[in-house]
Structure formats: C-alpha cells, structure tokens
C-alpha cells in the first residue's frame, strides 16, 4: 500500500468528522473544509515557530552580515563610486541570499500540513467540481481553490492573533531585523 495512503487513512476519521456535523452536504462541506484549513494553518504556524526558535542564531548572523554590506554599498553609492557600489551590492546580495533561502526553506516547511490536507481532500473530494456563475464565465474549479482561499485567510488571521498575544517571539525579532536595513 502507498505509504502516503496509510497517513491519509489514519487522519481520515479526524478530518471527516466536521463534514458530518450538518445534514446539508453543502454546508457540511464548507464547514468541514474550513476546519481542515484551520488545522493545516495551526500546525503550520507551530512548525514555523519551532523553525525560528531553533535557527534564530544562524538567521541573525546572516542578517547582520547583510545589513553591514547594505550599509557600505549605499555609502559607496552616495560617494558616487559606482564600481564599488556594484561590487559591495553583489556581496550584500550573496549574504542576503543565505538568510533568504534559509528563511524561505523554513517558511515553505510550514506549509507541509496544507499539502497533506490537499492530498486528503483530493482522495475524498477529488471528483467535485464547482461551477462559477455564468456572468463570470461559468468555469469549473476543483476542491483546491476554496481550500486555498480558506487556508490563506486562516494564515492571515493567525498572523494577526500572534502579533497581539505573542509580540516577542524569535520570529518577530528576526522580522524586525529584516526591516532594519
């Protein structure tokens, strides 16, 4: 049996529950998918928080180097030394590249639950099609479009709540450094 299938079968009873709360299948689908998006966003946020906490020293070091070269490149530009500006700017880019890809890998990793959710939704509702009203073309969309919208809204909401109740996390400190340029 497909190894991913085993995981999907294991999480199935938990995820399908909310779909059965309402008798109307349409309402059930929207509520259930909303709950799936909620779980995906929550587990994703926890993954991201762990990543920032574990990697805080490495990211800060990379950003320090970046800010140093950024500062020097602008001094060169101000002095009218285009050659020095270009050279230092390249160094700034290189050192920023390091923190960029590290941060990107961490951010991407936070999306893993969403992909498992999409795999599960595909298994359960892969054949569903949403037909848009004719005035916007009457096109058909799969289950993935509503899920993405739900997921993005959840991540935005989590971001706001996080800022309010946890203002001093490793993540917020690193973000502050990033904006310091």
């Amino acid at each position: 049996m497909d190894s991913i299938e085993i995981i999907l079968k294991t999480i199935d009873p938990v995820l399908i529950g909310p779909y059965r709360v309402f008798e109307n299948p349409m309402v059930g689908w929207w509520v259930g998918t909303g709950v799936v998006a909620f779980w995906s966003a929550l587990i994703g946020e926890l993954t991201l928080a762990t990543a920032y906490f574990v990697n805080r020293a490495a990211v800060s070091k990379n950003l320090d180097d970046t800010l140093y070269y950024h500062e020097q490149s602008f001094k060169a530009k101000q002095a009218g030394d285009e050659k020095a500006y270009k050279g230092i700017n390249k160094l700034a880019n290189e050192s920023y590249g390091k923190s960029f890809f590290l941060l990107m890998a961490m951010g991407m990793a936070s999306l893993w639950p969403a992909f498992f959710a999409a795999a599960w939704l595909d298994k359960r509702f892969g054949d569903l099609e949403f037909t848009l009203p004719t005035w916007i073309g009457g096109f058909q969309l799969s289950f993935i479009a509503p899920f993405i919208i739900y997921y993005v809204l959840m991540r935005v909401a989590f971001g706001r709540v996080k800022k309010l109740i946890l203002p001093n996390t490793s993540e917020s400190k690193i973000r502050e450094m990033e904006t310091a340029g």
């Binding site: 990697n55 140093y68 050279g87 390249k90 990107m104 992909f115 904006t179």
Partner: protein, 436 residues
C-alpha cells in the same frame, strides 16, 4: 457545489469507464480506483494507437498495486525516500541557497524513479507526457512557494519597486503561459531531462568562474571597498525616505500592458476557441511596454533608474525558462536584477520574490487549470517536512564545513548532474555512472 452535479460527474465517469472498457477491453485493468480522471483519460488515449497501446500494456501490469498517481505497477515514491531526499534539499537551501531548487528537481526526476518509468511509455505517449508535466508542476509548487512567503513581507517593508515588478510580470505572465501552451503534453521526459541537464551544467560553470582567481579577485576588491567605506559616515535620511519612492514612470501604458497580458493568460486557459486572440493580446501588451520609457525611483535617499522594456524582456526569458524547467526562477532573477539592472540588494530580493510569485501563479494555473495536470499532493507534503528538518540541520553543520569545500561539492554535483541529464536526455544514455 450542486449534489446533482456530483452525481452527474460520477455517472458520466462510470459511463465513460464502461464505454472505454467496451472499446479497449483491458483499459479498466490498467487503471485504478484512486486514479484521477486525467490519468485514466491519458491511459485510454494511449490505447487508441496500436503501437502506443502495446507499449502502455507492456509498462502497466494489469491489476498490479497502484503506485505514483495511482498507476498500477508504477514506482511508489516511498515516503521515507521522499523525506530523506527533502532533508538533503532543505540542507542545501539553508547552506548554499538556490541550488536547492535544482536538487528538488533531481529528486523528482531521478531519485523516485519516475523519469525512467515515464520514458518507458515511449515518445508521444499521453501517459509519458502527463507524468512529465506532473513532475514539472510538482517542482514549481515546491520551489515557487518561496514567492508567496516573501512577497507580502517585502511589500510591507517598502522593498518592492512596483513598476519594476510590474514590468517583469508583463514579460513573465506571457512567458509563463506560452511555455505550457507550446510544450505541455508535447515534451517527453527525455527532452525535459536533457534541457534540465544543460541548465545545471551552465550553473556549474558559473560556480567555477566564481572560484577562479578572476572571479575571486572581484569579490576581494568589493570586500576591501566595503571596509574602506566603513569609516565614512552615511547621511542618514529620514525613515520616511527609506522605502521605495517612484519619481518618474508612465503608469497608464504600464497598466494597459498588464491588463492585456493577464487577459491573454486568462483567454488561453479558459476560452476554448480563437487562440490567436491570446497571442495578439500578449504581443500588444509587450509592445506597449516599449512606450513606458524610463522609470526612476529613490530608495534610502539614493536614485536608481531603468528602462521599462529591459525587465520586460528579462521577465519573458526567465519566466519561460522557469516554466519550462518547472523551477521558481529566483536563481535567474537575482543575477539579472543585480548585474543587468544594477539594483540594490533589498530591492533585488523583494522584486525577485514577487516575480517568482507572479510567474508561479501564471504557470501553475496554466498547467493545472488549462492543461489539467495532476500532482501528488501527499508527496509534496512529505517533502516539505523533510525541508523543515534539513533547514534545521544546515545552519548547524555549516560551522564545520568551510564555504570553499561546500562550493567544490556543489560544482562537482552540478557537473555530474549536468553531464548525466544532458547525455541521458539527448543521447539516450548517460556517459557517467550509472550508465544507461
């Protein structure tokens, strides 16, 4: 969603299955219940041609356990393999950066055994083409996601030069739909591997150049210059001046051009007739960009400028390449914006991320909505878990491995992968081990 629609679709599917069963006798044995409609259709289409049908029947053992994308007997990209490979990809991302995207592609092509499997169906076989497209889109989901994560942040930080991003997007959106339109379902895995190898090869040469005395001298000089400027005081501009401020630029032509290229992308994907309209729209959009002229902006109090058509042309080329190879394109945007457009680092990072995002949306939309490509969601999920683990390990190991050693490792890897894929793709066999 209407329940009747669901029943209708299921009914139609059952009917189609019966009809095909009657036509091709054994096609039902070659499909599996968990398989997507698109894959079923591809298998059924391959059975219509005698030669292809023989190939398909030879590769798909009737009634075997379903593997990748639900195809009976297909390699099952093992979760553990996927995870281990992704840890390696995550490690590369967190130590040397962009090369991680290439490695993600190598995983999808070689490590999971999908390439040889797809190739076994033979050139022109719809099953081969669907698997190839699936690999391309899987790569894009994985790598292109970086754009989504970073763009919003950069925008908030005032590090996105909107007109620059828009001009790149005018080129990029067109490039992103043109490639799936011209190549989806037509590029076999063999050709795809060949081109992929060539790009890796070129990347390898860049890495070598950076290590040559000439490449290293440039870096040394820049480091010395940075040190020299350490003592100089920079006139601190007010915080209000630190973000991007547009000084000059024609927005009218820019917006018309954007509307035209977006309309072209929507037309080609959603309107089933008169494809020429999309081609006209995109060409007019591109032509209009030449009328935008020069765009000037300030960032941290310093002035920068660029001609609008330069990023537009860069956008076309980079998005076309990225879309064709199934990568994000960040590794091409950064040198383009730094070396060709001479833009400062924070702007380059922000604008590249934004361009990757736009290109990714356009390209994934074209493959998945326009061409109905199917992807293995669960596999990508497992890979992301691996990337998470890898990105935790990377910063810890880089303390013990000097950067020079890392670079040499990647040069060797780039040449090995490059030679292997190029020869495998274009000659049909690899000239480096494992041969064949």
């Amino acid at each position: 969603m209407k329940k009747t629609k669901f029943y209708l679709a299921t009914g139609l599917m059952v009917l189609l299955s019966f009809a095909t069963l009657a036509m091709a006798q054994s096609s039902a044995e070659l499909t599996s219940p968990g398989m997507s409609d698109k894959m079923k259709q591809a298998i059924e289409r391959s059975l219509l041609d005698e030669e292809m049908a023989a190939q398909t029947r030879a590769v798909i053992p009737a009634g075997a356990e379903p593997g990748f994308l639900g195809i009976p007997g297909a390699p099952d990209p093992n979760l553990i393999y996927g995870l281990l490979w992704a840890i390696w990809v995550g490690w590369i991302f967190s130590t040397v950066g962009a090369f991680g995207g290439i490695m993600a592609g190598v995983g999808h092509i070689t490590i999971f055994g999908l390439a040889d499997y797809a190739k076994a169906f033979g050139k022109g076989n719809p099953v081969n083409n669907l698997i190839t497209d699936s690999i391309r889109v899987s790569n894009q989901w994985l790598v292109g996601l970086s754009g989504v994560i970073s763009s919003f942040n950069y925008y908030r930080m005032g590090r996105l030069v909107a007109p620059l991003g828009i001009c790149l997007a005018i080129g990029g959106v067109g490039g992103s739909w043109l490639i799936p339109e011209l190549t989806a379902g037509k590029i076999s895995l063999k050709a795809y591997i060949g081109y992929f190898g060539l790009i890796v090869f070129v990347l390898g040469f860049f890495l070598v150049y950076e290590m040559t005395p000439k490449g290293a001298a440039g870096k040394k000089e820049a480091k010395a210059a940075a040190q020299a400027f350490e003592k100089a005081a920079r006139e601190k501009s007010s915080t209000a001046d630190q973000g991007v401020k547009i000084v000059e630029g024609s927005w009218t032509f820019m917006w018309i051009a954007v509307v035209l290229v977006v309309a072209s992308a929507l037309w080609i994907n959603l309107v089933p007739f008169a494809k020429w309209v999309a081609y006209v729209l995109v060409l007019v959009g591109w032509a209009l960009t030449f009328m935008i002229g020069t765009i000037r902006f300030t960032f941290f109090g310093q002035q920068f400028q660029f001609k609008a058509y330069v990023p537009m042309i860069g956008g076309i080329v980079i998005a076309a390449l990225a879309s064709f190879l199934g990568v994000g394109g960040g590794f091409l945007y950064v040198p383009f914006l730094t070396s060709v457009a001479g833009l400062p680092m924070f702007i380059v990072a922000g604008t590249s991320a934004f361009s990757v995002l736009i290109g990714m949306i356009a390209s994934i939309f074209s493959y998945m909505v326009g061409k109905g490509v199917v992807i293995a969601w669960g596999l990508i999920g497992a890979e992301l878990v691996g990337i998470f683990i890898g990105s935790m390990i990377g910063p810890r190991t880089s303390k013990y491995i000097p950067e020079k050693v890392l670079k040499i490792i990647f040069i060797l890897l780039a040449f090995y992968v490059g030679i292997r894929y190029t020869t495998k793709g274009f000659l049909g066999y690899s000239i480096v081990p494992p041969f064949g």
